[in-house]
Symmetry: C2
Subunit: 322 residues, 2 copies
């Protein structure tokens, strides 16, 4: 399956879409956010909205209909809210594309197009939801309106496969031990980021830390930081800053300048020092999150070793009824 | 100034708008979110997006132009990012409506329409940004596409003035002391909410607690809770749940059922017990946040008394350079 043909066939069948809805939950939703943000910024003839799936089901947009493209993702393929969202979209006449790692799962029902993706070490970024979603968004934009940075996007996605292996080594060598130690010393801390990266600020908090490490934390947008949260900053309060490499970096730089002088407990992960400058500047804002996701995985693993807490262990998810 | 005439004049001058952008920062942005969500759900012929102002300035949407309506808010009237956002919008040919409490401030420059609102005890909800924004959104929807719940919206906004005084007394009598005590016992806690209320989940965290009380906390969407954050739940971890009174309540109820059996430290503020059932069901989702904002103010004041921390005191905001 490839994004170009999938979008081409969808447009051939329906004509141009007037709306795109991205629906998923938790980590899967996080992977869709940068693609949505690309459309929110660039699209002039259609809308793009993203929902945690249950809220899409409850707050169903009136525009949802035959001219809508609904792009869903459920890693397990069995997330009830996401399957329900696809059913609602189908009933409304929308075109549905569902992504899942699990062939034969509930979302792979044959009722709509299901893109089954591989997962795990060595899988190219073009073949997992973050890359697939960016390709779908870029193709939709290009085929409906034209998108001058389409080739840059594909080049950038491919470049990530070269950037990530040394970046993983570097973050482990330079930040892993200190991060784990800071977690030992702090029951709670703040993570900051901005722009499309904020998806992985949120993801670091709710997936890598709360879910996989039972580590309490909060996530703050670098620009919003100055409109409230910075009042809580002082020595002894731990801040982790995700510095982006794109035009959004200006927001992170402002936060950095303040944090440097108002807390003695700061850890900075600067995408510019992790190879992102090899990605075309035009699409870097949307690919930084791929780097940060990989870095989040390394840092949670480093913490897990020190705390003897396997990131794959769950006490509730898929274990108890809820 | 009134929303009906303002929107009527704007449409008379420009024709129908194809996009609405809400721009502000922190607490002012939070007040605009429910109005944006009304449009995201109901509008079929135009888009609505909301930005923290600096991100709007940096990630400027390509659609921004003569057919755009930009609704800004800066309580102080001097927030540089918001003033800059209005300038950008004006230069792009957009119609700009700015809300501020401060006549003669930088945003009240005469370059666009400025709605100067009163603030403080006794001011009707129709005259402050949350109410003004909902009226502007409802009028835009009605005058461009028709909105069957327009009268309900105005009735609901008016009803809030009756609901809030007894609700303030009730929250102080029933939750104030225990909330302050739980803050003394917990360096950190989680706040949950969903739907348009999530704006005030975020607001409780970043404005009332981080900014005004230096109280560490995090904000979690009730539906997202089950896709990661719930793994951090256990006895001794404090959760504050904002239960809505609208169709979004189903998400909060699911969180409640889990929290009741997985932590011994839970505080619930149920909008249904605070008078919200007097508001028409059709618009309750957008007015619950007005209740929660008022309750957040009471709870931070209750905490402030016990901690001897005046919610109006700032150590950085407007005090140091940043």
């Amino acid at each position: 399956m490839n994004a170009h043909d999938l979008i081409k066939e969808a447009i051939a069948e329906k004509g141009k879409f007037d709306s795109v809805y991205w629906i998923a939950c938790g980590g899967s939703m996080i992977d869709l956010i940068p693609a949505h943000e690309l459309l929110q910024r660039e699209a002039t003839t259609f809308t793009s909205y993203i929902y945690t799936a249950r809220e899409f089901d409850i707050m169903r947009p009136r525009r949802l209909g035959e001219k809508s493209l609904v792009i869903a993702c459920s890693h397990s393929g069995n997330t009830p809210e996401v399957v329900e969202g696809c059913e609602i979209a189908l009933a409304a006449g929308a075109t549905v594309i569902a992504q899942t790692d699990n062939a034969g799962s509930k979302i792979d029902s044959g009722k709509w197009t299901t893109w089954v993706y591989p997962w795990g070490e060595g899988v190219p970024q073009a073949e997992v939801p973050a890359g697939i979603s960016l390709s779908l968004a870029a193709e939709l934009l290009d085929q409906q309106e034209g998108y001058v940075d389409l080739a840059d996007m594909y080049a950038g996605i491919a470049e990530m496969d070269k950037i990530l292996p040394p970046a993983r080594e570097k973050v482990n060598a330079e930040l892993g031990d200190r991060f784990a130690k800071l977690c030992q010393e702090h029951e709670f801390f703040y993570i900051l980021g901005s722009g499309p990266n904020f998806s992985q600020t949120y993801g670091f908090a709710i997936c890598s830390l709360m879910e996989m490490q039972w580590q309490h934390c909060s996530y703050i947008h670098s620009a919003e930081y100055f409109h409230g949260p910075f009042e809580a900053t002082q020595d002894g309060v731990f801040y982790f800053l995700q510095m982006g490499s794109s035009e959004c970096r200006a927001m992170d730089e402002r936060a950095l300048a303040f944090l440097k002088t108002h807390t003695d407990t700061l850890m900075v992960l600067d995408a510019k020092e992790y190879g992102m400058e090899a990605v075309p500047a035009s699409v870097r804002a949307y690919l930084d999150p791929v780097l940060f996701y990989a870095m989040n995985c390394e840092l949670r693993a480093a913490r897990g070793k020190v705390f003897d807490h396997d990131p794959d262990f769950r006490r509730y998810m898929g274990v108890v009824e809820y």
